[in-house]
């Protein structure tokens, strides 16, 4: 196996699970997540000579997010609901951290861009600036999407790390 292929194999083995987990959080569908993570690695391998000396994981992540953004197309209109639900959810995440079904249900209530911001910001731990670059939007947009998403998820904004970034405003 060529040296580049060995490097890619090691990279893919190390990064695949995290990519798939992120895709699962973004889609809520295990099969779509598997497909998206694999598609990202396929495109990353196709560009491996160019990206191996840069940041291949960032490249794979971007390809995957772009791949999923493409699924955001809605040929038919849906009923847009940007409002908080009338009543608070009876179940709270703090009471059942391991309940992944609740987590996915909660994420499913977010708009696509809100969900992407949440995953990039809080799963990949990217800065707001990096999230903005990744999604091609302004930093202010990331802040507002993030704040709105967390409000919908009923996540409190009192984390020192979070507050330090000014997203609470």
């Amino acid at each position: 196996m060529a040296r580049g292929d060995t490097e890619f194999s090691e990279f893919a083995a190390a990064g695949f699970h995290r990519l798939r987990r992120a895709a699962y959080l973004l889609t809520g569908n295990a099969q779509h997540a598997e497909d998206a993570a694999q598609a990202a690695l396929v495109k990353t391998y196709a560009a491996w000579r160019r990206v191996r000396r840069q940041d291949p994981y960032a490249y794979a992540r971007k390809v995957m997010v772009n791949h999923l953004k493409d699924q955001w197309r809605r040929p038919l209109r849906e009923d847009a609901r940007d409002q908080l639900p009338e009543r608070p959810s009876p179940q709270d995440l703090a009471g059942d951290v391991t309940d992944q079904r609740w987590l996915l249900d909660a994420l499913a209530r977010l708009a696509d861009r809100e969900r992407a911001v949440v995953v990039l910001r809080h799963f990949f731990d990217l800065s707001e600036k990096d999230v903005a670059a990744e999604l091609g939007v302004a930093v202010g947009t990331v802040k507002s999407l993030n704040a709105r998403a967390l409000a919908k998820l009923r996540v409190t904004l009192d984390s020192p790390d979070f507050a330090a970034n000014g997203a609470c405003s």
């Binding site: 292929d5 987990r21 703090a94 996540v155 984390s159």
Partner: protein, 245 residues
């Protein structure tokens, strides 16, 4: 309510799925690499064969510049251009944005299609940038499929570097011409977009999601033979016309 750390911990649950099929991934990656190279070569060859026989398409009418004073172009770089396309009550405009990403040091900008409301405020915007060639290398760049973002239909659009006045592509068996406008920040960069009736998605109406009015898989636009011509009808370089998505 849930604190942020607890929420983050919930996100970070380990993935317990099967390992990646690395051999299959590498095989598909090699195919994709070959396809990109072959596709580019085939298009160039076809262009060389056709260059003496083709009748030049008529030049598209100049696009209208969107009134700058009326536009809140947050996140944009340069003057938004009205495409003449509408989606619901929105006018669709195209412009560009700064791209700051360490992974792409030679890609300093991308292009965006935005919905503009009656007050001139832009949003939502669909952004895309090239990742196969430096941003100002001659030829096509950052071509995106038609899409729907936050309930706004957006066209197939992208940009071309060079003196292109006419851009065409074969879509579902016929040659269609894009509308074009020179980017306000660089006269070498030509923004282009296609009318919805020329390049479009075909949703799969048999899919269960169609009746539920949810995201419906469908047939992607069938586009090929990208071509660009200058004012005198001379064929211009293609670059790497890779469609994103």
């Amino acid at each position: 309510m849930t604190d942020l750390d607890t929420f983050r911990a919930a996100l970070q649950q380990p993935d317990e799925g099967r390992p990646p099929a690395i051999a299959d991934i590498m095989r598909a990656g090699r195919r994709l690499r070959r396809k990109r190279r072959f596709g580019y070569g085939a298009v160039v060859a076809a262009a060389l064969v056709a260059v003496t026989a083709v009748a030049w398409p008529t030049t598209a009418p100049p696009a209208t510049v969107w009134p700058a004073a009326a536009v809140d172009a947050e996140g944009s770089w340069g003057q938004p251009v009205a495409t003449g396309l509408r989606s619901g009550k929105h006018e669709i405009v195209v412009t560009a944005f700064h791209n700051v990403n360490q992974a792409y040091p030679d890609i300093t900008f991308g292009v965006r299609a935005c919905a503009a409301d009656t007050s001139g405020k832009l949003g939502p915007c669909h952004n895309q940038f090239d990742d196969v060639a430096p941003d100002r290398s001659p030829g096509f760049h950052a071509i995106g499929l038609p899409s729907n973002l936050d309930y706004v239909d957006l066209p197939m659009y992208g940009y071309y570097v060079g003196p292109a006045t006419t851009i065409t592509v074969d879509s579902r068996g016929r040659t269609v011409t894009a509308d074009t406008a020179v980017w306000s920040e660089d006269p070498e960069v030509v923004l282009f977009w296609f009318d919805f009736k020329d390049v479009y998605l075909k949703p799969d109406k048999t899919h269960p999601n169609y009746k539920k009015q949810k995201v419906t898989p469908g047939e992607l636009p069938d586009v090929a033979n990208w071509s660009a011509y200058d004012e005198s009808g001379r064929k211009l370089p293609l670059g790497k016309p890779f469609v994103i998505g």
